[in-house]
């Protein structure tokens, strides 16, 4: 444990250094693999993208500053890692990937502005980016107007589908339903208490969860509460939870509020080894701030945990740690962000072109067997087929895999009966 804590002192500095290195096109870091001469540029790029005979430019657009930097740092790291690996393996159609990174500064209009800059000025072939729904909603019209390609990593509320976006995270039904089924069966849960931050993702997720609890599981939602983003006082809702004694607390609290919520829950004497709690908003990244001791015993419903035991994941975790520091944790979104550049590479190679229209058309059916979460495939609706998993938080901040769906779950961004 003391080991775990010491890293905090040295890792940011070290991360800084490493980031600086990574900013140099990754070729220098990996010793310059030889790039096979690819097909002629005129053939693979008919729309004036920033593609030369040796290089293709891709944008990374996340918040490096502001309140969201806490969450988005992992995504930036994962995307840089994936791109470095792709370059090491020979690039895309014989071209090395060059990164232009922009800072969305946790501000939605800035995201739109930077997205536009990446597409219009820099003519990037694809953008890996966005984290919050709000930033994606701001960027989406820009992507559609200027015909860009966005790889969006976060699990989100659904109700969206675009030719110009590949959603590498799960949409709400994909993430939630299997988890609810599991906990209802496993714990015999009949009553649920929902706590969320007050914005669209928790509200939509809870709406879906409520319909599922009431209509499918024949259970009851005994409370549904929302707090403003950044709220730090949860004692009142904790009292309500104590009053209603739900079988399951279902949470989608985000950001700094998360930390306050679990600390106060623990302090109020709610023992998560006895009281079932299912969260869809806490990944390994969040536990870093919450502290493992405050959340141990809670269940999280995700598609990926750092502790997954498979060959792909072990390689991924090792590479990630090599690049970003041994103790950097990897959460669900970080893994989904890692998928973005790979899926794009595979699609480009299948389409034989960087043109956005061709990539959009070629995307459905693309399979990525090297995904750390296991096999994934792009659906016609541009979301991913993926498994849903339930993990139990441990003291050391990792999750222990408890349950996973047998098959890939189909993404359903406009779920019938849940709207």
């Amino acid at each position: 444990m003391s080991d775990d804590k010491k890293r905090g002192l040295d890792s940011p500095l070290r991360r800084k250094l490493l980031m600086g290195i990574a900013a140099i096109p990754a070729i220098s870091m990996f010793g310059g693999p030889s790039f096979a001469a690819g097909p002629a540029t005129s053939a693979v790029n008919t729309t004036g993208l920033a593609v030369t005979d040796t290089e293709v430019t891709v944008g990374i657009l996340h918040s490096a500053t502001g309140t969201m930097a806490i969450s988005e740092t992992g995504s930036i790291e994962a995307e840089k890692l994936a791109i470095a690996q792709i370059n090491e393996a020979g690039g895309v159609l014989g071209r090395k990937i060059k990164i232009i990174q922009e800072d969305g500064a946790s501000d939605w209009p800035t995201f739109a502005e930077k997205a536009k800059k990446l597409l219009v000025n820099d003519k990037v072939a694809a953008i890996m980016g966005c984290w919050t729904s709000a930033s994606r909603k701001a960027v989406l019209p820009v992507m559609e107007q200027y015909n860009g390609m966005l790889y969006y990593p976060t699990f989100y509320e659904g109700l969206e589908q675009s030719k110009n976006v590949i959603y590498t995270g799960q949409e709400a039904t994909q993430q939630i339903l299997a988890g609810l089924n599991w906990i209802a069966k496993e714990k015999g849960a009949k009553s649920f208490f929902f706590v969320g931050s007050d914005y669209i993702w928790p509200r939509t997720s809870n709406k879906i969860a409520r319909k599922h609890v009431e209509n499918v599981l024949k259970g009851k939602v005994v409370g549904e509460e929302y707090y403003p983003l950044g709220n730090t006082q949860f004692n009142s809702v904790i009292n309500k939870i104590k009053l209603t004694k739900p079988d399951v607390i279902f949470t989608d609290v985000v950001g700094g509020s998360n930390v306050a919520f679990y600390k106060q829950l623990k302090a109020a004497g709610i023992d998560l080894s006895k009281q079932a709690l299912l969260t869809i908003s806490v990944t390994e990244d969040e536990i870093d701030g919450i502290g493992g001791e405050n959340i141990a015993g809670a269940y999280a419903c995700m598609k990926y945990f750092q502790s997954l035991k498979n060959e792909n994941n072990e390689k991924f975790v090792a590479a990630f740690h090599k690049m970003w520091g041994e103790k950097t944790v990897i959460g669900d979104v970080t893994q989904a962000a890692y998928l973005g550049p790979w899926l794009w590479k595979l699609t480009v190679e299948k389409a034989g072109s960087f043109d956005v229209d061709k990539i959009a058309a070629a995307s459905p059916g693309i399979e990525f067997k090297g995904a750390p979460e296991g096999y994934v495939r792009i659906h016609e609706n541009h979301h991913l087929w993926s498994k849903t998993r339930v993990g139990k938080a441990k003291l050391d901040g990792q999750f222990e895999l408890i349950y996973e769906t047998a098959d890939l779950v189909e993404p359903d961004p406009f779920p019938k009966g849940y709207q």
């Binding site: 905090g8 800084k16 806490i70 509460e225 004692n235 306050a260 600390k263 302090a267 701030g289 502290g291």
Partner: protein, 308 residues
Amino acid sequence: MFGDYSIGDLGSIFVMQGFAGLILFSVYVLMALGLAIIFGQMGVINMAHGEFMILGAYVTWMTSNFFQAFLPSLFSGYFFVAMILAFFASGALGMLVEWALIRHLYKRPLDTLLATWGLSLILQQAYRSIFGAREVGVELPQWMLGSQKVTDSIEVPINGIFVMCLTLLITIAVAYVMYKSRWGRQVRAVVQNRIMAGAVGINTERVDCYTFGLGCGIAGIAGSAFTMIGSTGPTSGQLYIVDTFLVVVFGGAASLVGTIASAFSISQTQSTLEFFMSGSMAKVLTLLAVVGILMLRPQGLFALKVRK
């Protein structure tokens, strides 16, 4: 909504809810005390107050790491050391800021607001560069976790009790320093008549510097205490700033009693409302009530009528 519950259940919930209100009250007092000293006594609006608090939180985090690494046997007591260090770290930074920045702006209170806002941006970025963009988790000693069972159905969180005791202690200390000690008399003398105070031999510059340092130091303690209930990240300080200012202004800036009374009324209103409606609406209604009352009574709850 209460139909399904027994009288006993409801009773204990109301007790616990009252306690939740008291915790919120303590948190508000702790946040606002430092600001009340600075704003009330010096008229300076310190927009970087939240960042001084977070400095205290980071100091606590570093202290806990240090104890875990080098003095694991004393870990259970590290929190007290951390609070003292937090006080001095934030206080020292505060005095530095006073000397370099605030001192030149006493005649322009609105400008201190802009300058300290700039300072808060710089501090946020500094935290991000030094400690990383991610939040840090501060590990607490075992005895500070969990809750104390009072009866079968009534439990009170230990960290809540801790915050309340701390608040009481600091309030008494501040009251003593401000109203009983020689130094407190000097501070008040400077507030009432700077020129006269200077003329009778009070070093007004030093008094200002220490006052600002004291306010920031208390912010540091508050930040240290809040690692028990909240998050520690580069931008966490901003979560507190509006609430803090409203508590101080609502109380009537120059009055310590006012600050406490206002913290009490705001926290009780909010925690009561929270029980009957969603947290978001409770917050909106509380803020609206505060702003509404301030419009009717702009001098705050406890301002004295003075001869101008």
